[in-house]
């Protein structure tokens, strides 16, 4: 087991971001230790990018409040910006914004490394190491970037972000635009880099599979942080440590779902397919036979049944759903 450092690389306390009276981020707090991979998850408009923009000195101080430090420097002071920018790396969502397509990968390395004061030889040495880790074929190193494949560009973009060996690397949607089979390889490359270089990584993403490599995950909704913990801890916080009963039910409809929900140990019924539901309940082992009996008695015909552990995707879905229900309730009470 890898032991994580206790050195805090990013510390955020009560971060609020306001643009022209629009409150974008509400009281967000979290801290990140050296070597951790943090995933910021949330649907569009959750405030993920805004938080990263504060941490990467892209938002003026007049628009945000709170105590924030990145590698022990606060972005609220302009004179700290170069120091923070020396210590962080950034990989944007689109490679087009990170790479000069008309130059070769090594020329791109030279352009970006020079901004950190690295000399060409040193930069090329680091680049070659990174290229090897990221499996960027050596015959492409001196060709123009525009001739590289999408995956190679993506990996080159990561290498550019890491060229100065930053303490913290921010990655904006690293798996967007990559086909399903390559998504996992991108994630495994990130894990590999994290382990080899001990770089703290911040991943902003819609792709919930990214949680597989995250030490901690943050779930954001409408500028509020709903959760911040390791994916396993979050899953364990579900009833029966996230154990799930999956049923295939004949002619599944809303009435049947309501009937199942009325069984008191059941905490959540999720429709995950045309005729499939996943059920979370208290005291899983004890109540599962009782639930099956209950369903038979009420005319709910079960075709098949399996048990599983909840994934982060499922946790995310449940948590967001809960929040939406709560908001609906609040709105109804308000209207009443």
């Amino acid at each position: 087991m890898v032991e994580l450092s206790t050195e805090i690389m990013v510390d955020v306390n009560n971060l609020n971001v306001i643009f022209d009276k629009n409150h974008i981020v509400h009281d967000v707090s979290f801290e990140v230790k050296k070597g951790e991979i943090i995933g910021l998850f949330g649907i569009s408009g959750a405030g993920k990018t805004t938080i990263i923009r504060v941490l990467t000195c892209q938002i003026e101080k007049k628009n945000w409040s709170g105590d924030v430090t990145v590698t022990n420097f606060s972005p609220d002071k302009k004179q700290n910006h170069p120091l923070i920018l020396y210590n962080i790396g950034y990989v944007p969502q689109l490679e087009l914004l990170n790479l000069y397509y008309d130059l070769s990968p090594l020329a791109n390395v030279e352009v970006f490394s020079s901004t950190y004061g690295l000399d060409t030889k040193e930069a090329k040495k680091i680049a070659q190491e990174l290229f090897k880790i990221l499996d960027i074929p050596s015959d492409t190193w001196n060709k123009r970037v525009k001739h590289m494949s999408g995956g190679e560009k993506k990996r080159l973009s990561m290498a550019i972000g890491l060229i100065h060996k930053p303490s913290v690397l921010f990655l904006d949607e690293p798996t967007t635009g990559v086909d399903a089979s390559k998504r996992y390889s991108i994630l495994s490359y990130l894990k590999k880099l994290n382990q080899k270089l001990d770089t703290t990584m911040f991943i902003i993403t819609h792709d919930l599979e990214a949680a597989l490599i995250c030490d901690k995950t943050a779930i954001l909704r409408e500028g509020r942080m709903l959760e911040f913990d390791s994916p396993q801890n979050l899953i364990n916080s579900l009833p029966s440590n996230g154990l799930i009963a999956r049923f295939e039910i004949n002619d599944l409809n809303e009435a049947k779902i309501t009937r199942i929900s009325e069984f008191s140990p059941v905490k959540k019924v999720l429709r995950v397919g045309n005729e499939v539901v996943e059920i979370l309940m208290e005291s899983f082992e004890e109540n599962l036979p009782k639930l099956i009996q209950y369903m038979i008695e009420r005319g709910v015909t079960v075709n098949s049944m399996s048990r599983d552990s909840a994934s982060f995707r499922r946790f995310f879905q449940i948590r967001i759903q809960e929040e939406e229900e709560r908001e609906k309730l609040r709105t109804n009470i308000g209207e009443a």
């Binding site: 914004l97 352009v111 020079s114 950190y116 004061g117």
Partner: protein, 404 residues
């Protein structure tokens, strides 16, 4: 205290060194990007001297001799002339033939036809038809009493009807007619009212092409200004990774300085090549090469600053191209090529003098033909304009919002 000052000095020295290093490396990037774009390289280095060579070849291949102006002479001289004081009639036409001979003799005129209007009553109509058909450039008409007046010692009258549809040739036509009059006066021992003497100052010496030397000053201004502007209008707006670069310790000012320095170096090469190509094409240079170099560099730098200014303030490539086109048209129209600036309304004159090309041609003409120093009003006007454009570009680029 002293220690503090020393360490502060050391820190600022290190900061300067780092900044210098970053600027140099950013310049390398600019050069690499420029070299990868073959069209831009052609435009920067090959096109300007090539244009001069083509221009020189074209101008030098036109025969230097005189191109005579085709004309028709119509004489009304032998029509009856009645003196209003004495009511005496006169049928004198003894100066008609000498004038026709003078017109024939003049190497500036090519007499196509002579009409005696006494015998051919539709002479003028026929001549006008020839003028419409562009068979001739001028109708020279000797009025009634032409010979009578000259015999009496009065100034002779000649009606001159040139084709004014082409403004560029009117002066040549009038000069040709004047030459025939001069020959007529000399051959017939007449007493003209004025005799112009003297010599031409600042003319192009023999052995040099008058056409090339006359037109090259304007061409040089256009090429060096236009190419610098075209090369730079997209340098900021098309560089997508700028926003990402700004998430590194590189400063905005360093990015822009590196662009200015790169394109200034390109401009220096361009100006040297332009001067060499004009000299190869036999430019008569009354002033010094250094003055010409400074003048061309200043015009080019104004184009460069205007290009970068357009690029920094445009949000898209299309916007930059459109803005370039609009600005270039205005600069061209108000440069004094089509209408002399002094003939424009005052408010347009003010705008014209703010624009760079109004200063380019007079500055280069002064150096090339009169041997003037570059450091005159036009040079300082261009310098001030460049400085203003550079400052505005830096302010815009510094304030521009970039988000990755």
């Amino acid at each position: 205290m002293r220690k503090n000052k020393r360490s502060e000095k050391k820190i600022s020295k290190v900061k300067f060194q780092r900044s210098f290093f970053r600027i140099i490396r950013q310049m390398k990037k600019e050069f690499l990007l420029l070299f990868t774009d073959k069209f831009n390289m052609l435009l920067a280095i090959v096109v300007p001297p090539l244009v001069i060579f083509l221009f020189g070849f074209m101008m030098n291949s036109i025969p230097e001799g005189i191109q005579p102006v085709d004309c028709v002479v119509i004489s009304y001289d032998s029509n009856v002339y009645v003196d209003e004081g004495t009511f005496n009639e006169s049928l004198r036409d003894d100066f008609t033939l000498p004038y026709v001979n003078a017109a024939n003799k003049s190497e500036y005129l090519n007499l196509i036809h002579f009409y005696n209007a006494t015998e051919e009553i539709y002479a003028m109509e026929s001549a006008r038809m020839m003028l419409i058909a562009s068979d001739i450039k001028v109708i020279i008409s000797l009025p009634v009493g032409f010979s009578e007046f000259i015999t009496l010692g009065l100034p002779g009258l000649i009606d001159c009807i040139p084709d004014a549809s082409d403004i560029k040739t009117i002066q040549d036509t009038l000069n040709a007619v004047f030459d025939s009059v001069k020959t007529f006066v000399n051959d017939n021992n007449l007493n003209p009212q004025f005799q112009l003497t003297g010599y031409e100052e600042f003319t192009i010496p023999e052995g040099y092409s008058f056409r090339f030397n006359y037109n090259i000053t304007l061409t040089l201004s256009f090429i060096v200004f236009g190419v610098s502007m075209v090369l730079t209008i997209l340098v900021v707006v098309q560089e997508k990774p700028v926003a990402r670069l700004l998430l590194t310790p590189v400063k905005r000012s360093e990015i822009l300085i590196s662009k200015y320095l790169t394109y200034t170096l390109i401009l220096i090469i361009q100006v040297i090549l332009l001067i060499i190509s004009t000299l190869v094409c036999r430019l008569y240079l009354a002033g010094s090469i250094l003055d010409l170099f400074i003048a061309l560099f200043t015009i080019g730098f104004t184009g460069l600053s205007m290009g970068i200014f357009i690029s920094t303030q445009s949000k898209t490539k299309t916007e930059a191209n459109q803005l370039f086109f609009a600005v270039f048209i205005v600069i061209l129209l108000l440069s004094g090529i089509f209408i002399p600036i002094d003939a424009m309304p005052i408010y347009l004159q003010v705008i014209a003098y703010i624009l760079p090309l109004s200063h380019g041609d007079p500055m280069i003409r002064g150096i090339v033909t009169k041997g003037k120093s570059v450091f005159g009003f036009d040079f300082f006007a261009l310098l001030i304009l460049s400085i203003i454009l550079v400052l505005i570009s830096f302010i815009i680029f510094k304030r521009r919002k970039y988000e990755v």
